[in-house]
């Protein structure tokens, strides 16, 4: 055990910090759930790529730097510290990317990864269907093989980023006679294909962060199959592991929120101390964000040493989503009488930022597998309790 950074790691930190200082836009971009914001964020991805920061953990030939997971955490820390824009291509970079790395052919990696790192191809996810939410094995959308093509028919829903994205990945039923988690395959579909219709869905903040995607006999070349036909469940479970585990929610994100919360408390101490629950909540935000960081470094170290992510990644999902909710609720309590006011009054800008985070935090226990599902996984697969 050595909890100090190596010289190489320190150098890396210095490099990314100085690059970000020079390149992060002064003004925050519009939300990537707006058309303008989406294009701004795509532009930012290109800037990152130009600095060779697209996805530092990937091998050089795919647009990366071959960095270790520890360096990835350092990158993320500097990224959040610099308040750099959120990654519009997170579905691609953090979910599909690692899956491609594990299950993709050389051709697929070459075809998809560099354009992903570049932000030229932005990815939506296509997990859920109207009748397959928590119960993902109930997927019905078909992809029937005809020669060198799959013909996709059906419907996906809650596809984040799908409104303006270029590609979607997801599970499709390639064996029409199959049931549950058998006969599914992991397929990548260009969203500009003939027969694809996208209906944006407005979220609680009024923006269209997700969409319904309808497939009407959409033809997809068979080289868009990831892994073996019929192995979709296995491939998807690996992706879900990344989502809950290391990649999707960097500790830095929550540490930055905790830092802002401590500042908010300090600036409003007198008002905040009226409510005796707040100080405890602020302390807990700091400790829990710190714990999340520690566990992540521990997991990264384990992976670097040849270990694997197991069902304990579900503990992550529950932990960060509840931490995020609790931090934002605490902020709302501190803001108190003006907690709902978004603009038109002094201090409303700050409130609006917290409110936006608060709304988003409400979705944390739902997306990427509800926390109820995660707790089932923890008890069944980690603790071995009966189904």
């Amino acid at each position: 055990m050595d909890l100090s950074f190596s010289k190489v790691e320190l150098e890396f930190r210095k490099e990314i910090r100085s690059w970000l200082r020079e390149n992060v836009p002064d003004e925050p971009l519009e939300s990537f759930d707006t058309e303008l914001g989406f294009h701004q964020h795509r532009g930012w991805e290109k800037t990152l790529y130009a600095g060779n920061w697209g996805m530092v953990t990937w091998p050089k030939e795919y647009g990366g730097r071959g960095c270790s997971l520890i360096e990835w955490l350092i990158f993320e820390e500097e990224y959040y510290r610099a308040k750099a824009p959120l990654r519009v291509n997170q579905n691609g970079l953090f979910l599909l990317g690692p899956t491609l790395m594990e299950f993709g052919s050389k051709e697929q990696k070459e075809k998809f990864l560099p354009k992903m790192a570049l932000g030229e191809e932005i990815w939506a996810q296509g997990w859920s269907e109207p009748n397959a939410g928590s119960d993902m094995a109930a997927i019905q959308t078909k992809a029937i093989r005809k020669g060198d093509k799959y013909v996709v028919t059906g419907q996906k829903i809650w596809s984040t980023r799908a409104v303006w994205a270029d590609w979607i990945f997801g599970m499709f039923r390639t064996d029409p006679k199959s049931e549950r988690h058998h006969g599914l395959s992991f397929i990548l579909v260009p969203l500009n294909s003939k027969g694809v219709t996208i209906r944006p869905i407005a979220q609680l903040n009024g923006l269209t962060g997700f969409a319904e995607v309808f497939f009407d006999e959409v033809e997809v070349p068979t080289h868009c199959l990831l892994g073996e036909e019929g192995d979709g469940w296995k491939v998807a479970m690996a992706t879900a592991g990344f989502e809950r585990g290391l990649m999707l929610r960097s500790p830095a994100r929550f540490q930055e929120t905790a830092r802002r919360l401590v500042d908010l408390y300090k600036e409003n101490k007198q008002q905040a101390d009226n409510d005796p629950s707040i100080l405890e909540a602020v302390l807990r935000a700091y400790l829990d964000a710190e714990s999340y960081c520690l566990l992540t470094y521990q997991t990264a170290s384990r992976l670097v040493n040849g270990g694997h992510i197991g069902p304990e990644s579900s503990t992550n999902k529950v932990f960060w989503s509840e931490l995020d909710q609790s931090m934002h609720s605490t902020a709302m309590s501190i803001i108190g009488a003006r907690a709902d006011l978004m603009s038109g009054i002094k201090g409303a800008g700050l409130t609006a930022e917290w409110l936006d985070g608060w709304l988003f935090a409400q979705s944390g226990p739902i997306y990427a597998g509800t926390n109820e599902v995660q707790r089932n996984i923890i008890s069944e697969r980690m603790l071995g309790m009966p189904r």
């Binding site: 809650w158 909710q325 709302m332 803001i335 108190g336 009488a337 006011l341 038109g344 409303a348 979705s363």
Partner: protein, 349 residues
């Protein structure tokens, strides 16, 4: 000792419920968000005709003379439908405040309300902001001299503030000291507390209704929505989420009804009871918002689905009328004062 409502009170609640659930539908609320009309005058007229708007105005001025115990159940129903028109504040804040005042002008204002000539709003004693100022003829507020004044809205400059709740119309208004003085500052302390208590109580009562509404939405959804070939409401995890809301609601209710009683009787501990009610009811609503959303999954996170109409309103009701910090601090002050009675036998003393 009788902690029940009368048959009459319950009948009035039922008829109000029938009216409101028929008239104030989510789609009507959504229309209002979009419309350029600043008020739903049709609805206001109907509620005026039903006597709800003037319910708490004394009978000699043409109202029904209801007290806060009579009205609390109606306020709950207004919360249940997330009524946007300021009916509850009119009946539970504006009218009681005007009734506290002597002189002709307050009586005139009350009569105007009965006739439906105009609406009257109040400035929040914490932020100075005024809800529904644009549809009001007068705003009641404390001026910098701590006098209670009635400002004519036509004289004031309004600027709208955006709330996360698309149904909330709230404004800051430029200092209008020129308003008519209703009461000198010798009664400031009393009236200031009176105003806070009225608003807090009104918010608490509506929060009970909001909680029930969010719970109903989630229960119904959990019966319809199937996953793993079963209604999701048959899973213990979902059941217990909503059972927890039911428990919170069940125990918040009597604290609000006790507050209604204390307010009506001017009980010495009324401020305490109201703070208790505000905390209990707003926390119930906040748990309902959280757990109902969780029971809905992604569906509850969409703009199209109605849940957020109620959850956003519950956030507003918690923030206004004294936030939780204000009410907790007020309770703690009492709890640790030397003469505070605690323990069994102290509840109704």
């Amino acid at each position: 000792m009788d902690f029940t409502f009368t048959e009459e009170q319950l009948l009035l609640r039922d008829s109000t419920r029938n009216f409101l659930t028929a008239e104030v539908t989510p789609s009507r609320l959504r229309e209002r968000w979009k419309s350029h009309d600043v008020a739903d005058n049709d609805l206001w007229e109907k509620m005026l005709d039903m006597g709800i708007i003037s319910a708490t105005i004394p009978e000699e001025l043409g109202g029904s003379g209801l007290n806060s115990v009579d009205f609390v159940l109606l306020a709950e129903e207004c919360g249940y439908v997330a009524l946007l028109e300021p009916v509850v504040y009119t009946a539970l804040v504006v009218v009681p405040l005007l009734c506290e005042l002597e002189g002709d002008f307050p009586r005139e204002l009350l009569s105007g309300l009965v006739r439906g000539d105009y609406r009257i709003s109040v400035a929040c004693p914490f932020t100075g902001l005024v809800e529904d100022a644009d549809t009001s003829a007068f705003v009641l507020k404390f001026n910098s001299n701590k006098e209670l004044v009635a400002c004519s809205v036509t004289d004031a400059e309004l600027s709208q503030i955006r709330s996360i709740d698309p149904g909330r119309r709230v404004f800051s208004l430029k200092e209008c000291e020129s308003g008519k003085v209703l009461m000198g500052n010798n009664r400031f302390e009393f009236l200031h507390e009176f105003l806070i208590n009225s608003m807090a109580f009104a918010n608490a009562a509506q929060s009970l209704g909001l909680t029930q509404r969010m719970l109903d939405l989630a229960v119904n959804y959990s019966k319809d929505r199937h996953q793993f070939k079963k209604p999701i409401g048959s899973f213990q995890a979902v059941k217990h989420l909503l059972a927890n809301v039911a428990i919170k609601l069940e125990f918040a209710k009597p604290s609000v009804y006790r507050a209604a009683h204390s307010l009506h009787h001017g009980a010495p501990k009324r401020s305490l009871h109201i703070s208790h009610a505000k905390i209990a009811a707003c926390e119930a609503a906040s748990l309902a918002a959280k757990n109902s959303l969780q029971a809905h999954g992604a569906m509850g996170y969409t703009w199209e689905y109605d849940l957020h109409i109620f959850s956003k309103r519950s956030l507003v009701l918690s923030a206004t009328g004294g936030d939780l910090g204000f009410h907790k601090a007020r309770l703690l002050d009492s709890l640790f004062s030397d003469d505070f009675q605690l323990g069994p036998t102290a509840t109704f003393s």
